[in-house]
Symmetry: C2
Subunit: 347 residues, 2 copies
DNA sequence: CTGTTAGCGCTTTCAC
DNA sequence: GTGAAAGCGCTAACAG
C-alpha cells in the first residue's frame, strides 16, 4: 500500500550540496561560474565528486524558471513536408544540438495565422531564440518576439525590410544565372513560374527573370509569367496553363524545384518530354533533382550552409543579448548553377 | 539611466489574483480544476475577466516545475534527411499540436549512441512522452524512459519484443505482396536488397521475400540478398553488386524506397533501363516515387496514418499514466501495393 | 571563499 | 468556497 512506490526521485542540487558538505549556493556557483574563478579547489573537488556519484544534472525547468532562459531554440518552417526543408532542418538541428540547445519544431503549413500562433506559443514557452522561415511578409511576429527579448534570425526567406538577422541565397543573381543558361542554350521563347508574390525571394527571382529577358517578347506585352502557390500541385497547374497552348515556350524557369517537379508531372500529363520538347530550370537544388529520370538543372540554394549560418548568427545574438542591440545583419550567399539534363538546346 | 527599461514583465497569476480580488490559490483552482466544480460563479466571473484583461497565460515553465509535466512530447527519428520522414514528422507534429503539446525534435543520424543521448536529454527536459523511430534494437532506452515515468510509443519500426505501444505497417505481408507482384509479372530471377539486419521491419521484409521465393533458386543455394545501409548510397552500391554480373536478376525487391532510388541511380550508372532491363519494387511509398521519370512501384507504409495513430496512442497513455500499466499494444496496419511503372514483365 | 535569504510562477495540502 | 503556507529545483544578491 505504498503509492510512493513510483519512480525514484532524481537527485537535486540539495543532495549534491549535502553530500559535498556545502550549500546549494556553492554548488550553484560551481555549476554556473564557469569553473575557474574563486573557489577552494578542495571544495571544487568534493562537489565534482558528489555530482559524479549522484549522476546529477540540473533541472532545465528549474533553471529556466529562475534564469528565464531555457537552452531551447524554436524552428518555424512553412511546411515540413516540402522537399526543401530536410537539409535545412537537419543542419539547424545539428548546429543547435552541438551548441547544447534543444530544438522545438513548428510547422505553419504555409498559413500566416498559424505561423503567428506558433511563434506566440514558442515565446510563451520561453525559447531563447527562433529560426524562422517566414510565411508572412509583415514583420509583426518579429516585433512580437523582439519585445519579449527573444532573438530571431530569418533563414532562407528575407523580408522586404531588414528587420532581423537574415541568411539567404542571392535569388536575384541566381535567377539571372538560370535564365542566362537557358538563353545560352538558344532559348528565346521563355516563361517563368513563380510562387506567392508576397515572398521576397520569389519576387527577386521574378525580377531576375524579367531583367534577363527584357529584350525578348512573347505573345502579349511581355513573356508569360505564371503566379501560383509554391507547391507541386501549383507548379503542375501553372505548367498546364503555360504549355497547353499553340506555340508554347521552349524554356521555363521555375522559382522553386518543388514547382518544377510539378512541371514535370504536367509534361507527363501532356505527353511532352523534357528536355526534348521543353527545357526546365528550377531553383533550390533539392535532393530528388539529382535522380536519374529527373535530372533537374537548377540553382543551388545551399540549404545546409544557410541553416548552419543562420544558427550561428542566432547563437551569437543570444550570447550578446545584453546591452545595445547591434544592427541586423544580412548574409547573402551565392547561388550557383547546377547543370543536369532538364535543359538542352531547343529543337 | 534606467536598466529597467527592458522588456515588460508578463502578468503572473499573482496579478490576476490581485485584480480579481482573490488569492493565487483560487486562480490556480480556476485554471486547473476543469472549470465546473465548486466555486462561486461571481468569483469565477471576476477571475475570467481579470485573465482576459491582463491577457494572462500561465507559464509552462513554472507549471512544469510544480507539476512535473511539461506539455511537451519528444520525437526522435533516425535521420530527418531521409525521404521517408516528412510525412511522418508532419503528421505527428500536427497531431501533437492539436492536442496542445509542443514537439521537441531529435535526429540521431542513425547512430544508436546518439539516439540514447537524445533520449536522455529529452527525459532530462521532462518531456511527457516520446515518439520513437528506433535505431537501436535493444530496449534499454525504452526502459530508461519507463523508469522515469515517461510514456513512449514506437512508430514505424517495431522491436523484437513488444516492450511498448507500437504502430507499424505489416512488413511481412507487404513484402510478400511485393514479391508476388513481381512473380505475377513473370519474374523468376529475383533478388532482394535489404537494410540493417537488426531493424525488425527489414528482417520481416526479408522473410517475406524468402517465403515467397522458397521454390526458386539462383546461382548459389538461394536467391541473392544484399544487405546494406538503408540509404540511397547503400542501395546504389548494393544494386551495383547485384546487377553488374553476367545473367543478373530481372526483378529486385528493395526493403525501402530510399534504397530503390539508389538502385535507380545504379542503373543509370550501368546503362540499364527500368523496367526494360530490370524491374524494381520498393517499400514505403515516398512522395518522389510518384514523379514521372521515377514511377516507383512500391508498398505503401502509410506514414501519415502511422504518425497519427502513434500520437493518439501516446496521448492516451499519457492521460492514463496513473495506476496500473496497461499491456503494450501493437497496431499493425495493412501495407498495400501501389503499382506504377518500375515493374513490368521481363523480356 | 562560502553561507543566508529571497525569490522565479505555479500547484497543492490543509485550515477556516 | 477561499485563503495561508509550503514547496517544486535552481539562481542571485548580499553578507560575512
Amino acid at each position: 500500500m505504498e503509492p510512493e512506490n513510483s519512480h525514484p526521485r532524481r537527485p537535486t542540487i540539495k543532495d549534491v550540496a549535502d553530500r559535498a558538505g556545502v550549500t546549494k549556493a556553492t554548488v550553484s556557483k560551481y555549476l554556473n561560474r564557469a569553473h575557474g574563478y574563486a573557489m577552494a579547489s578542495s571544495t571544487k573537488e568534493r562537489i565534482r565528486a558528489a555530482i559524479q556519484e549522484l549522476n546529477f544534472q540540473p533541472s532545465p525547468l528549474a533553471r529556466g524558471l529562475s534564469r528565464s532562459t531555457t537552452s531551447t531554440i524554436g524552428l518555424v518552417v512553412a511546411d515540413i513536408r516540402s522537399q526543401f526543408y530536410p537539409d535545412l532542418v537537419a543542419s539547424i538541428q545539428s548546429a543547435a544540438e552541438a551548441a547544447g540547445y534543444t530544438l522545438v519544431l513548428g510547422s505553419s503549413g504555409d498559413d500566416p495565422d498559424r505561423e503567428l500562433d506558433i511563434i506566440r506559443s514558442m515565446a510563451h514557452r520561453q525559447v531563447d531564440g527562433v529560426v524562422l522561415v517566414a510565411v508572412r511578409s509583415e514583420s509583426d511576429h518579429i516585433e512580437y518576439l523582439r519585445r519579449r527579448g527573444i532573438q530571431i534570425v530569418l533563414a532562407s526567406r528575407d523580408l522586404p525590410e531588414l528587420v532581423a538577422d537574415t541568411v539567404v541565397v542571392d535569388s536575384f543573381a541566381g535567377a539571372r544565372t538560370a535564365v542566362r543558361h537557358l538563353r545560352e542554350l538558344g532559348h528565346r521563347r521563355l516563361a517563368h513560374v513563380t510562387g506567392e508574390a508576397s515572398v521576397k525571394p520569389f519576387a527577386d527571382r521574378r525580377r531576375g527573370f524579367e531583367v534577363e529577358t527584357a529584350d525578348l517578347t512573347g505573345d502579349g506585352p511581355g513573356l508569360p509569367v505564371e503566379v501560383t502557390t509554391s507547391t507541386l500541385e501549383g507548379g503542375r497547374a501553372a505548367t498546364h496553363r503555360l504549355l497547353d497552348v499553340s506555340d508554347p515556350p521552349t524554356g521555363v524557369f521555375f522559382a522553386s524545384d518543388t514547382m518544377a517537379l510539378g512541371g514535370l508531372m504536367a509534361c507527363a500529363d501532356l505527353g511532352l518530354r523534357v528536355p526534348d520538347d521543353v527545357s526546365f530550370v528550377g531553383f533550390d537544388n533539392v535532393a530528388v533533382g539529382e535522380l536519374p529520370g529527373i535530372g533537374l538543372t537548377t540553382i543551388d540554394s545551399d540549404a545546409v550552409r544557410v541553416g548552419e549560418q543562420a544558427t550561428e548568427l542566432l547563437l551569437k545574438r543570444m550570447l550578446a543579448a545584453t546591452g545595445t542591440e547591434a544592427e541586423p545583419v544580412l548574409v547573402t550567399r551565392p547561388a550557383e548553377l547546377v547543370v543536369r539534363t532538364s535543359a538542352a538546346p531547343p529543337r
